[in-house]
Structure formats: C-alpha cells, structure tokens
Amino acid sequence: MVGVSSSAARTLWLRLKAPSRLLVVRVAIMLALAALALATPSFLSAPSLTTLLTTISFVGCLAIAMTFVTIGGNVMSFALGATAAVSAMVFVVVLNTAGYASGVAAALVAGAVITGLQGCLIGFLRANPIIVSIAASVLIYGVAQRVTSNETVHVSETLIQSLLKGKLFGAPIEFIVFLGLTAFGQAVLSFTTFGRNLFYIGSGFRAAEAVGLPTVRTTILAYVWAGLFAGVTGVLLASRYNQANMEFALRYDYDAIAAVLVGGIAIQGGSGSMLRTFAGVAAVSTIQIVLLLHGFREEWRLFITGLIVLAVVVLYSKRQRQ
C-alpha cells in the first residue's frame, strides 16, 4: 500500500513542471515552519508574537529595499542599514523642530538621496556595486561621527505621545507598514514600466542595453526606491524607540541580506519578487524565534542563520543546473 501510494506520488511529482515542483517544496517548507512554530509553546502568546512582528518588520522593510538592488543585477548593498540609521536621525531632528510630516519627508529624502547617488555611480559608470556600497557605508559612518560625535538624538517629550506606535487589528503598526510596503513594492515591480525594465536589465545588462532600454535611469531609480524604503525603516525605528543613533541598524544589513537570499531571490539578478522576500523574512524570523523559545541562546541565532543561507544558496544553484 505504501509502495503504491509512493509510486503514485512519484509519478505525480515527475509530471509536475520544474516551477510547480519548486512551489510544492516552498509551500511544504512554509507549512513545516508554521507547524514547528505552532507546536512551540508560548509562540502564539501575545508578547512574543508582538515582539517578533515588530522586529521582523524592521528587517523586512530593509529586505524589501534590498530586493530592488538584487533584482536589478547589483547583488547587494551594504549601506542600507547605515542609510536607515541616518534617516532615523534626520527624522528625529526635523520632527523636533518642524513636525511629523516634515520629519517623514526629510527622512525619505535623505534615504533617497544617499542611495540614489550610489545608484548614479553604479548605473552611469557601471562601478562595482559591492565596493560602492561598502565605501558609502564607511563614508556615512565617518561623516556621522563628525556631525553627531557618536551621540543619540531623542524625540522631545511633548511629541512622544503623538508618534505612530499603536496597534492596528491587533498587530503592531510596524507590521502593517511592512505588509503595505511589500504590496506596494510588488506593485511597483509588476505594474510599472520601471519594474519590467528592472527585470530585463537584471537578467542581462548587455541585452537590455542593446535593445535600448533606459539602463541608467532604471538602475538609479532602483536605488532611489531602495533608499526610500530604507528611509521608512529609519522612521519606524525612531518612532518605536523615541530616539536615533548610528548604532541603530548595525545588524539589520546582514539580516536583510539573509532574508533576501533565503527568499530565493537570484543573486545574479533578473528574477524574484517582493512576496518571496516576504517569505524569506518570515522564514528566517520564525526559525530564529522558535530557536529562542526552545531555549537556544541568542548566539546560536547568527550561526544557524548563516547555515540556512548557505543551504539555500546551494539548493538554488542545484535547481538552476538542472
């Protein structure tokens, strides 16, 4: 009986086309993770879930920003965390003097300009994106050290009450923003000319250039989008903690990169979606929280995340070779 059913399953499996096979694997992994999470006592208790949702929202927004860079064929950015921290500081400073709306606007502009300038170097000159982003992050930390002398800026007392930090439908506001950004980012990728061009350019720069796609403009725009999303991350961070400093987003860079890789966004560019990044963020965060709740200490988190990233990288390459 077992033999019959397994051979039937095997036939069915072989009849599936490669993409749907992958879908089956993905759904199975997500279900397994969900089951693991639900089987963990105290996972669904409110404090743990709220903390989880808030933390993954910060990493998630940054991962959405990162996805624009990766899909466009520019691997990763190591400067988005620093950009988010700068945006957070700009937000707090402007908020204290000119109000909430100006604060958000200034933070978004700061993020877009910082990242957009890197996009100019990468899009116009085709400079190496990894080196440019590392240089940018070093420069941001250097200049910030000069400007802020390593100090923390605080939101003034009278404004704290009015900040967005409540709950909506039982979920923290950060998570709602993250969901919104995922949907928005996906819409930008799916329904705009920019999004379509980004996929073409990411999958083959020379070909895209040969058929006359606006490679420079699209690459710069991808970085501007990434900067805007990093700016939103900064606003969320500052609103949650009522303060901002350059240490804020120090570890989010690597978490975001891990999420993008685990989500299965091809590192060579040209494929992927915001939904996959969302799945990657969810998977990485769920595993981390389950580990924590099962009594693994905090230090195992990074190690196991690293192993998962390596495993996913290897698995995806295997699929591509087939």
Partner: protein
C-alpha cells in the same frame, strides 16, 4: 588595442582609436614614464605619493619620517596584512572572499580559548578552523558552480555566528600577558614578532608566486577561466586552495591580534574587511580578477598602514580615517568602472559639438 595587427579591415572605430592611441603616445614620450605608470609599478607609486603627501602635511615636524611611525605602520601591517594577502589572492583568481572578517574574528576567539592551555594548541586550532572553513567554501563554489559572493556571505554569517557560539557571547581573555607583550615588543627598532610573522608570509608568498607555476595558474584562472581550464590549469584545485589559504591567513591574523591584545570577543574584531579590500585595491589587484601579485599587495598594505599610522601621528580626528578610506574606495570603484571611458568619450564629444 588587441584589434591592432589582426590585419582585418580597419573599421571607423578602429581608425579613431588608432589616432587617439598615437596622440596618447605623443603625450608620454619617455618609456621610463610609461614604466612608472604601468600597473605593476602603480602600488609603489601610490605609496610614494602617500608618503610624500603625509610628509608635506606634517610640515617638517618629523612626525611621519620617524621610527615611531615606521614601527606603528608595521604593526598595522601585521594586523591587516595577512587578511589582505588572503583576500587579495582570491581577488586575483576573480573571486571574492567576503567571509574574511568573520573568519578573522573566529580565529581570534578559538586561538584565545585554546591558547590558555598552550599557545601552540591555540594557533593550531585557529589554523585548523581556517583551513576547514576555507576549503568548505571553496568546495561549495567549485562543486556547485555558485558565485563566491553569496557563498562567502553565508560563510561570513556562519563564521561570525560560530564565534558567538564558541565564546558564548562574551569577551574571552588571554591569561599569558607576557606573551602578549612579547609579541608587540620592538625588535631592531622597526619590527615586532607579530609584524615579522606577517612579513615572513608575504616573502614566502612572493617567492612562490613568482618562481613556481602557481602564480601563473592563479593569474590565468582569474583572467580567463575557460582558457586556463583548456590549457591544463587545475582550476578547481586552485579555487579551493585559494579559499583555504584566504581563510587560513585570516584566522592566523585574528589569532595573532587577539594574543597581542590579550583578549578576543566575537564582535570586536569584525572591522578588517574594509581595510583588506582597500589594501588589495591599492596593491594593484583589479576587481575583475587576473591582475596583481603579492609584491604589489605588500606595497598596498604598507600604504594603507602608513595612512592609518600617519593620520594618528598627525593627530587627525578619528573620522578622518573613515573618510579617507571611503574616498579611496570610491576613487577605485570609479577608476575601475567599465563604462568610465565610454562616458568620458561621450561627454567630450558632446562638449565639442556644443
């Protein structure tokens, strides 16, 4: 340039580049100057410029051309040199080892943890971890044909996590203070045991690179992998060995630094990736691979170290180093950018038209 001498019909572009080549040749009449500007010599030229610049800023107060600055330059050399040597050689073969900073920290933590029993056991453990880690990464890169950036990104996270795990997220201290002092004690004014170790590894690497076929094979693997494979270079072996070498050097560098600081923490040693990249690039190693050698790399590390110790000696504010590093990286990214010449030509043409 490679089109010349093919004997084919010269198209309009070939003609244009011909005239511009002649013009350029006219601008540089002396072969000596051409040799000075050649890629092999560039690292030394940059070093001379950096030394001259710092001396000028110093304004004759003797802060740069002093034995103290020379000693501290060599101390920086020993901190960054081994990592840069490993990373640089992976860049020569056209790969990129992002994991060096993770392995550097891991090596330091492992060395201190086991070094309290015996220093040799500590070093052996660090080297063992380095070799195993590097070989695993190299194996994944060759066996599965994946780019080295995602693999070593995973490696970086894993090594960093492993450092947190083995130290249980705390700073571990090294009890042998005498040894820590001995490692940094000055020998013959300029050197210390630590810097002599780094120099020794550079000398060995330079010797091996130039006098065995390994150097040629590395360059061939980096400049044209397919051609290298066809002409009988063991490309897979070269890649695995390069990653193993890179991780081993990083782990050793981390071990030596942690011994000399008499402590190690998983978070504290992470900041070597950026200096190592800068040193490699200053050392004449191209991001595209197939260029550079350990001799130029040594000059690159010396330049980077001189900038650090020089800025310290001139009492420059702490952010000056970050800003200088960032500007160097930007300059190299722009100078190495594949479309720089094209955009420049287009811009000059546009200016001529208007």
């Amino acid at each position: 340039m490679s089109n010349h001498g093919h004997g084919g019909k010269p198209g309009p572009t070939a003609l244009a580049s011909d005239t511009s080549a002649r013009e350029r040749a006219g601008a540089i009449p002396v072969p000596m100057l051409a040799r000075l500007l050649s890629p092999e010599f560039r690292p030394f030229l940059i070093f001379i410029v950096a030394l001259g610049g710092l001396t000028l800023v110093d304004g004759g107060e003797g802060r740069i051309l002093s034995s103290v600055t020379a000693f501290s330059t060599l101390q920086y050399f020993s901190t960054f040199g081994l990592v840069a040597l490993g990373l640089g050689l992976t860049m020569v073969i056209g790969e990129f080892d992002l994991s060096v900073s993770g392995v550097f920290g891991l090596g330091g933590c492992v060395a201190v943890l086991y070094g309290n029993e015996s220093i040799w056991l500590g070093i052996a453990c660090a080297l063992g971890v380095g070799i195993a880690f590097g070989m695993a990464q190299g194996f994944i890169v060759t066996r599965f044909g994946i780019g080295s950036v995602p693999v070593t990104l995973g490696g970086l996270l894993t090594a960093n996590g492993l450092a947190y795990v083995v130290t249980q997220n705390r700073t571990v201290s090294f009890d042998n203070i005498d040894l820590a002092l001995l490692l940094n004690e000055s020998i013959a004014t300029f050197f210390s045991i630590r810097s002599l170790v780094a120099i020794a590894f550079f000398v060995i690497s330079i010797f091996v690179f130039f006098s065995t076929r390994i150097g040629r094979d590395l360059t061939a693997t980096g400049s044209n992998r397919r051609a290298a494979l066809v002409s009988g270079v063991g490309v897979g072996r070269i890649i695995v060995c390069s990653f193993a070498f890179s991780a081993t050097m990083s782990a050793l560098g981390g071990a030596l630094l942690s011994f000399s600081l008499a402590s190690a923490s998983p978070a504290g040693l992470a900041d070597v990736l950026v200096p190592a990249i800068i040193a490699s690039i200053l050392g004449g190693i191209s991001l595209a691979g197939g260029m550079g050698n350990p001799l130029g790399l040594a000059a690159g590390v010396v330049t980077l170290s001189l900038l650090r110790s020089g800025l310290n000696a001139l009492a420059a504010p702490p952010y000056a180093n970050d800003v200088a590093s960032a500007l160097i990286l930007f300059a190299v990214a722009i100078a190495d950018a594949p479309y720089l010449l094209r955009r420049f030509t287009a811009a000059t043409a546009w200016l001529h038209r208007n």
